[in-house]
């Protein structure tokens, strides 16, 4: 692990990333760059390859072709977790159900023996307070709501003092109020620590609410990268169909 003592973000470059499963090509040559310290949202419909892309970026999948660079330095997929302080907030939160909330948040520090038990308790309290869950350290994950689980997952990510945080569908399964709270946490975190944040989501409100830049992905390809305003005005049928999809009232 790099020994940097702050969260200051790293840049991320992805070039020509390809991945197939059982002969079906899921990523068809993905190219994009995330600037250090920005919130970059990859937005697209379900099944467009967003989660598979994220797994490559955190080192859980190895690409068939293409490369990932962090701060311009090419890194193998399997090296990423070991070489850079990257953290991922999973769609489900992925808290360890057999541990308390406090043990979940302090797991990284405890397993790598980076701090004494007393210091870990203090850090856990601070990080939980940062996400507005100061009194939950002794609770079990099963006792928390979906939104609280996601915020605990963010607190667990913060303990790593990450240079890059990846969020997988951070507002899925949440009610609108909880979605806004989680989105606000992501923004506040970026303002406070200047960590690079890459968010994968199909939530249009979240994307336009927090993103510095947005990439639209569909069928394993990036269709457009731009600021929220540029994306809104991008005249592509697939992008416009995704952005303007809404329920229609059927009248008899």
């Amino acid at each position: 692990m790099n020994a940097a003592n702050n969260h200051s973000g790293v840049s991320l470059q992805v070039r020509g990333l390809r991945k197939s499963f059982d002969g079906q090509e899921v990523l068809k040559g993905i190219d994009f760059e995330v600037r250090a310290g920005e919130i970059f949202v990859i937005m697209g419909p379900s099944g467009s390859g967003k989660s598979v892309l994220l797994k490559h970026l955190i080192g859980l999948e190895i690409p068939d072709a293409g490369e990932i660079r962090i701060d311009g330095e090419p890194v193998q997929s399997e090296e990423i977790a070991a070489k850079y302080r990257t953290a991922m907030v999973f769609q489900s939160g992925a808290l360890l159900n057999s541990l308390t909330v406090g043990e979940n948040v302090g797991l990284y520090l405890a397993e790598h023996r980076l701090k004494s038990p007393e210091e870990i308790r203090k850090t856990v309290s601070e990080k939980l307070a940062d996400v507005g869950l100061a009194d939950t350290a002794d609770k079990m994950p099963a006792e928390l709501s979906g939104g609280m689980k996601k915020r605990v997952a963010i607190a667990r990510a913060l303990v790593i003092e990450p240079q890059l945080i990846l969020y997988d569908e951070p507002t899925s399964e949440l009610d609108p109020i909880s979605s806004v709270v989680v989105g606000a946490e992501i923004s506040k975190l970026q303002e406070r620590t200047h960590v690079t944040s890459l968010v994968v989501s199909h939530d249009r409100d979240l994307a336009f609410g927090i993103a510095d830049r947005i990439a639209v992905i569909a069928e394993g390809r990036i269709l457009k990268i731009g600021t929220p305003d540029e994306i809104k005005n991008f005249n592509d049928p697939l992008v416009q169909k995704f952005l303007n999809a809404e329920f229609k009232h059927h009248t008899k």
């Binding site: 991922m88 999973f90 489900s92 808290l95 360890l96 159900n97 797991l107 397993e111 790593i160």
Partner: protein, 245 residues
Amino acid sequence: MFENIGEMVLLFWRTLLALPLAWRQRQKIFDQFFEIGNASLLMVCILSFFIGGVLSLQIGPFMADKGLVGYLGGIVGYAHARELAPIMMAILIAGRIGSAMAAEIGSMRVYQEIDALRTMNINPIHYLVLPRLVAIALALPMLVVFSILVGWFGGAVVAAVNSHIGVSYQGFFADLRNVVEIKDVVNGVFKSFCFAIIIGIVSCHQGLVTIGGPRGIGRSVTKAVVNSIVLIVIFDYILTRILLK
């Protein structure tokens, strides 16, 4: 089952390489050890008592008819120590603990908890497999020693109480002492150690390769128990051949 043997050997090798980290994981090992003992002790006690008892009941009257009832303690003691206690306890633990291991690790895999560990640079083999394997490798031999003692007692009770057999406690244990040597008990304990490794590796491997949600977890649990039992029986034959020499 056999197509995964290579993966299981690799998992065993990686866990062996992680053994120096066992002291760091001592709290988890203790927790697992306690869970195995706590969950199994009563069942081990009941099962062993009745295995010893039924062995006496099956053999005792026949030997009494042939005038060989004086050898009953030795035969029951020898068979229970070398064969019945290790294999029956291994099958019990495969069902009781192996299934729990596969289910727990499998659900962690399905619900991305193992992915979360990897993103924190925590090796799932060190964190999940090592404590379970060390705990079961310590607990099963201890349970087998306990099972041997209870099984002998069960055999002695039936031999004394059953009117067709009519061997006293003193007579049963005197013959048992004449026939059964300490190496027979060590033999059974060694077998159980090998069976524990099989249960631990098969169950953890099945958990780690679980895919497909709750149905996948169920499939992994079934495969963990069935594959463990099949391998235990195969290795029982191989170990018996080796240890008889």
